[in-house]
Structures are given as structure tokens and as C-alpha cells.
């Protein structure tokens, strides 16, 4: 069971959270995209074996979404920060 450092609440058990998905940026104007580009966003993923930037929701806590940098092999979490913050400081 992972210990996830919520930027608002501090480290909490994984069971308090819901995983979202990879930290994708939603295209600002989907209609400006070709089908290829839109389906790239909709369906295709890097799925890295290693460092992964992703979003979690603190469902049984503060109800915040936040960004987590986590290694998909070791599960070591190197950073967690509010959405919109570009990178770990």
C-alpha cells in the first residue's frame, strides 16, 4: 500500500485516493484537431516503464486533484504538487 503525499493533507494511505490517469493536457480547442490528433489524445499513451507523471484525487480527504511523479517500477514517488504547477520545485 503506497503512501501518497497529498500536497494539502500530507502523506496518506493509497486507499484514500482515486487514480486518475496520466497527466495529459486537454487540447484547448478539440475541434481544431484532426481525427489523428484527437485520437492521439483520447487513446494513445506513452505508458513509460519508469518515471510517470499522473493525477490522483484525494477522495477520502480534501477532494483535491493533484499531480504525482511516480516510478511505475519501484512505485517511489519523487514529487507531488497541485495541478498547474509546472514542475517540482
Amino acid at each position: 500500500m503506497m503512501l501518497i503525499p497529498c500536497p494539502w493533507c500530507g502523506p496518506r494511505d493509497e486507499t484514500e485516493f482515486v487514480y486518475g490517469e496520466a497527466a495529459l493536457e486537454r487540447p484547448a480547442d478539440p475541434h481544431a484537431l484532426s481525427d489523428q490528433e484527437w485520437t492521439d489524445y483520447l487513446y494513445f499513451r506513452d505508458n513509460p516503464k519508469g518515471e510517470h507523471t499522473e493525477r490522483w484525487f484525494h477522495r477520502a480527504g480534501c477532494h483535491h486533484w493533484f499531480t504525482v511523479e511516480r516510478n511505475t517500477v519501484t512505485h517511489v514517488i519523487s514529487a507531488a504538487y497541485p495541478p498547474g504547477k509546472a514542475e517540482k520545485s
Binding site: L3, L33, L42, F57, W65, P83
Partner: protein
Amino acid sequence: MSRQVWRTEAGGHGIDRKQPVSFSFNQFRLEGYAGDTVASALLANGVRLVGRSFKYHRPRGILGIGSEEPNAILHIGEGARREPNTRATVQELYQDLVASSQNHWPSLKFDLGAAVGLAGALFPAGFYYKTFITSPKRWLWYEKHIRRMAGLGEPPTEADPDHYEHRNAHCDLLIAGGGPTGLAAALAAGAAGAKVILVEENPALGGQMLLAPQQVDGMSGQDWAEQARAQLDAMPNVQVLTRTSVAGVYEHDLFTLVERLGDHLAEPEAHQPRQRFWRVRASDAIFATGAIERPIAFANNDRPGVMLLSAVRGYLERYGILAGKTAVLFANNDSVYAAARELAAAGMRVEAIVDSRPFVSEAAALAKADKLHVLTGHGVTAARGMREVHGADVAPIDANGRLKGVTKTLPCDLIAVSGGWNPAVHLHAQSRGRMAFRDDLAAFVPDTDGAAYTSAGAVTGAYDLAECLQQGFAAGNAAAKALGLDSTAPTLPTATGDTVGEAPVLWAVQAPKGARCFVDFQNDVTTKDVGLAHRENYVSVEHLKRYTTLGMGTDQGKTSNVAGLAMMAAKRGQPIPAVGTTTFRPPYTPFTFNAMVGGHTGEIGNSVRRTAAHDWHAANGGVFTDAAGWARPMYYETEGLTPQQRIDEEVLAVRKSVGVVDVSTLGKLDIQGPDAAEFLDRVYTNRFSTLKVGRGRYGVMLREDGRVYDDGVTMRLADDHFHMTTTTNHSGSMFQHLEYLLQVVWPDLRVFVTPVTEQWFTAAISGPNARALLADLAPAVDVSNEALPMMGMAEGLVAGIPARIFRLSFSGEIAYEINVDADYGLALWNGILSAGAAHDLKVYGTEAMGTLRIEKGHFTHAEADGRITPDDLGLGGMVTKGKDCIGKRSLSLPDLVAPGRKQLVGFIAAEGERIPVGAQIAALDDLDAVQEALGHTTSQAYSATLGRHIALGLMKDGRNMHGRKLYALSPVLGERAAVEVVSPHFYDPEGGRQRG
């Protein structure tokens, strides 16, 4: 008691001779002492044959003295508490304990299953892959018999009467193992002030110090351990858990422990859990898990009476038992000499010390000088005897165990074996630590490089007591320092214990062809099986394990894995580390499932949500179903009516007078902020910014892939304030979805969303009399069609309770949803019922509600099944042009506009026919035909309103199929109906009734 024939006159510091304890084994009444394990008590009574092996049903005795035991596994307990596969070497004796042996028929002594063993030549490793190659039907028959032969103990047949609990804890330092190393580490770290949890699987602390005479600081190892325990108990920052195992090491410093609180009792004390499952987050950990002695393989080395040398010593030291009268001791190290002296001093005849080493060690020379019968450069080649050992064949051997001289037979009833030790690296391995191979020990030890935690003591290959203590202190100090604590190391005690000396590895002694030398006792894996695996190219460690089942038993290969690996390495001509090591997975030793459950089953594990009127529903015949975790009444049982008759009455009441239904489970979200309207425009396919205050609108939402996600009515309470309703299923995920959009995608929008499902109780009244009923309930509210039209709202007192009244309809009749503070829900409900008597009010449940909505052609998630677009549902017009929303981009992807998509239709059954549940729609009226499904039903009901069975469903190109006569088939239920494809709007398609 005189019957304890193998008990010595005195000694055995683990037992209390003043407290005899009576127990039974295979219905024989026996006696032991308080402090005994079942194994020691059986040995005390001279019982050796305790079980039958997994595959060959060979007679088996006790091999070891702890959790490594592969053979002595028994049924313990009676009735619902009878537990299979319990290690006799771990199970503590209690008064009237009932034990019985496993895996034999008709009896332990005479087991017909042993025929497999006699024909064993036919059944080498993996024989089942090579035979019974036949059709699945015949294999099923063979398999039935094979299954009966396998399986060890009998499964429990009843629910477990005991209870269990979970405990979560945090500590600075978790120490696994309460032997000398763990004690020393705990003393050091504890003295420095670290918050320590020390875990020991046995009832007493001390580890190996309890199993052989040792001296620490001038006192016996046992006394020193007791002194250490007293010191630790005096430290408020140290918690000592005995009878507790560290079961698993998980990511992010999580450890699971299993504490056995009641296993040493006939039943747990009242209000005490039987076992406690701990989840401990520890900043650091020390693995002081010791080492497990390993056997040396020789012919028939599984006979009862062949034991591990350390176990034989331990039974004497701790339990005052001589495990035989005449012993042959066989070892590759010096521990055998101390053992010989102890056993001889206690009265055992040591027939010979067979020392496999080709040289005479100092200890060997001293023993020779003392006239002990020492045979160096010799090995035991075979055990003699069937159900127990009668002798040992001994011969000169070379360093690889090959015979190089004449075999002679020595009479004995005990062969005690020591082939060195395997460090118990399991927890280190579980923590993803790497292994290093020590050639001098022929063993894997934890590789310190990259290790997450510290290993100390025998697990690192330090088999010397003084070194263990020293490593323990050092590890405890280092852990305290790392925590920033001021560590003043206690003085290192002086210690004298065994010396092991040089221990050149010997895995097996050459055996004659046809003889069986066991590597894995429990699973009957022999040295020849390892050879066969090699011959057939199952040479990777994992293939070896899986092909032969080596190490896959309940002992998880604690005494066998490394030996098997070494034998394979030898066959491959490669060093052991090049061949690899097997994976160690949790748990360290098997533990009861229910400990992990910890009572979190039923409603405690999966909570049930109940509305404010739940108790009324339950008291009035409500028959409940689970809907997204809510308990919802499907209908109300009524005497003299079948469920369908009752549902019909409920439906007709709504159509003819008025009905009330509890719809509190619908998701409700309070949405506020200057950009709330803009936000709703972006999430719904249709527009909400144009909605007038005080009015509501039905909306549909899409997933990003264009499929329908959810629908519901949202009311505008103020310019910047909306009340959104969602389906019961999506109330949780909707909140998460909206928060994602607000926090991540459009953080610039000034909107707050608050989930308020539980805060409101909602009752819907619907039917021609609904307005009159509401007028009675809310005299101060103008409920006229002008003041409160369809999709309008009002606020005021209803049944004297402040309420929001939304006029909207799921049933197609005039209907109102009355929302009040959930605390007043039951009061509202009762108020509606009292006022309703004058209006022919009837309470209805989800079944009638479903029928009413099917008659109206409203969809639910049965129709919008996650594959369906708005257009498929006939709602293409609800996707407003001129604005974007979530999922809209996908609606133009090729497959979403392709011809031939499934579309929503209605089906009406021929007179008197009944549309089966879950039907497929096809052209041939034949339940057995293979034919194309043209569509399927999604929801079906008997419509009392129409007097027909009707259904909603999805059909390829459905909107062009109206009028087609087809068949609704349910082959699995053996039911069918002739149906006609019609519009999904069966009842009042123009909607005049709900607006009236």
C-alpha cells in the same frame, strides 16, 4: 507422567513439569506439559509417525522445531475450529487439544495412497504432463481422482467462529526476530529513545539461545534473554510482540504482522480476537531473522526419525526430550560435537558422529580423544526402516558425496543431520533487496548494496553468538543515529556459544539407483527429480520449481529451495549464483485468511447507504436491492399479492391517482459561482446559460469519447447557483469528474461544486392527483400550473418542513420532487403518507418506477450502456450547435457516424406473451438455432397500463425497423416471445399528461 517415555528426568526450561496438559492425537489420549508444542509433546510420548507426504503418501515424522517444518502438519482443533495443515512444531499445546494426521486413507499407519509411492517409479516429477493426454472429458475424470489424492488436510466445513482485528501502527524501527541479534538491536535502539517494535514468532524471546546451551555475560542465554525482555519492557518506547510473525514487506515501508493471541488456547478468551493483523509503517527496519538449518539428502532421508540436528538439540534443551535412544549424528560442521556431548550427557547413546569433512577438525579431535565414535570423511548413505528409522548406512565419501568405500549399517533410531544453514533472507528479498552468494557458507546472504533495510546476525551468515550480539547492537545503534537520536551504546556482553568451524557444503550423498533422496519433503521432490528437470531442459530456477513443485508447499521450501538450486547448478556446471535464486513472495509463513479480513466483511467491508425513510420501507414490506451501494426498495410486499400484482398496483396508482417514491439516492450536486452557467454549458451537450432562474432543464453529458455518460435535471436557483441531479450510479464519479474539470482543465472558472446527495431527502409524488396532494401538503405554496409549470420550482413549507419543490417527471404524469433536509426526511415521508390517504396515494418502488419510465421511453444506464451516442438514443437534437462540450469532438469520429449503429427502440409483445429477461432479438422463433442477433432488449416490464409486456432495446438501424415482427429469445431461460418493433415512447408520446 510415565507415558512420556522420551522425556528426560529433568531439564527443559520451556516446559512446566508441574502442569501436565492432556491432549489427543488420532484419538489417542496423551499427555504433555505446559510450554510444549504439539511436536514436542508427541515426541515426549514417543510418537514419530505424524503424517503422510503429498504425492507418494510416504510416512513422515517431525523434522524440525519451528516454522520451517515441512512434514509434521496436522489438523488441530475440532468442529468449526478444526484447522488443516497446522505445523505441530509451532502449535502450542493446550488442555484437551485435538490433533489428527492428514492425507491418508484409511489410517495413518496403513495408507492405501502409499501405493502411489510403491509405484513411484511411474510418477517422477511432471509425470502428469506426459500422461492422461486425452480429451477434456476424460481428463476431467482422471483429474477428479488426482485431486482427491492431493490436497493435504481437510478443508473446514463451517464458518470460522472466531473474530479477528486489524491494527495500524507507526514506528521508527521494526525489528524482525527476537533472538540474540534482535534483542541486542532493540536494547541499543530502545536505549537511544527510538520507537521500536520488536517482533518474535515464538512465545518466548531468545531464538537460538533457547535451543542450545549458550553463555552470555556469565548467565545462560535463556536468562540473558529474560533479562533483556525485562529491560525492554521497562522502556515505554519499545513494544515487544511475541507469537507474532512479520508476514510481508510491502512498498513505502509497510510491514504486515500477524499476532496470534488465541492460538495457544482452546478458544480465544471472550472479547479477545484470535489473531491480530498489523499494518506497520516503519521508518526503518532490522531483519534479525536468523538462519534455517538445512538437511543433507541421502536415501530414504524422509523416514520418521531423521531430524535436523539443531531440532534434536532444541527438543532436549527446551523441552527435556531425547528424540531417540540411539543416534547417528551426521553433519558437515562442528556444531555436531557440542550436540553429541549434550545428548550423551542427557542419556542418549550416540552411536556415531558421521562428519562428512575429509579432515579432522579440532572439535573432532577432542571428541575422538574423549572416546566418542567419530567417522570423518564419512556420510550417511541411507536410512533403514519403513515407518521409522532402524539404522543408518554409513560409508566413506568424497567431498562431493560420492561413495569411496564399504557401507556398514549402524543400529540407531535417530539420524540427526546438519548440512549447514540457510540465512532466512525472505524479508530482505521481499523488500526487493538483492542477494549475495557466500561461497564459504554456500548460502545466499542479503546484499547490503542498495538494501532498503538492515540485516543483522545469522541472516548475514554470522553464525557465532558473539558476532550476532555485536551486529545487533551495531544495527540498533546505527538505526538510532540515522533517526538523529543520541545513541549511547550499551556495553557489548561477552558471549560463548557454539563454534561451527569450516563447513564445506554437502547437498547430497550418492544413493543407489532406484533409491529416493528427498530435497523437498512435503512435495516429495527427490534429487532424481532435479536430475530429470535438468535432463529435460527445465533448467532455469523457476522452471525447476514449477516443473518439480520444489518449494511450492506450505513450508515454502525453507529447508529445500537452496539445495534444489545447488543441485541444478551442479548439473549445469555453473556456480550457484549464476543459476539464480527464486523469488520470495509474501507471506513469510502462511497465515489465516480471516486475520487479513479482520472482520471487514459484510456491511463493515462494503457499507450500505440508507435513505432517511429506510426504516419505514423496511417496516412496510420493502424488498430491497443494491443500487450503487444504496439499499432501495424494489416494491412493497403485500399480503395476498404476488410481487407482479403489487407492482401493477403501484404503477396503476401513479397512472390513475398518485404515487410516492423515495428518490433520495439520486446524485445531487450544489454548483455555485460566477462561472457556474458557463461551466454547465461545457459539461452538458445542451445549454444551461440560457436557463431562467427558478427553472430546470434536462441535460445529457458525454464521456470524452462521445458516448453518453449521464443525464439528469439541473435547476437554476439563482444566477450563480444550480442544483444538479445525476443518476444514482454516477453520483460519486460525477463529483470527481466535475472537480477534475474545474481543478485541472479549467482552473480559471470560478465555480464551486459541493456533493449534497446525503444532505437532501427527496420524495417524488406523481400522478393525476399529485397537484391536489401537494396543495394539501403545502398550503402556502401556489401549485397551479401557471405558478409551478413543468420544469419549474418553488420553495416553501411542505408538511411543515422547509422544502424545495421541483416539478419534473420521470413517470410521464404530473410530478413533483420534494427536497428537504435529510434529517427531516422521515417526517416529510410520513407527512406525505398522511395527506395522501385522501388522494388514493400508494407508495411505489424501483420496479414500478422502472415500468413507468419504460412506458415513457426514458433511458437509464441499461440503454446508455457506455457504447451509445446521443443520436443512438434519438437525442441527437440535444447536442446544441454553436458551443463545445466534453466529448463533442468525438461525435464526428468515423465510427460514431457510421451507418448500422444500434439505436433505441421499443418492443411490444404479442397479446399474452411475456418478453423474457435479457432477451436477444432475432428473426427465427427457435431457441436452439444459431442465428444473427438483430438487437437485444435492455429493460423489460409488464405494462399494466397497456396490458402488454413491453421492452426497450437496441437494434441495428433500429429507427428504420419500426413495425417489424420479430422474436425476443432467451435460450438460457428457455423463454421466448413474439414482439413488434415500435417507438420507445409507448405512453403519451406527446407528453401532454406531465405538462397538464
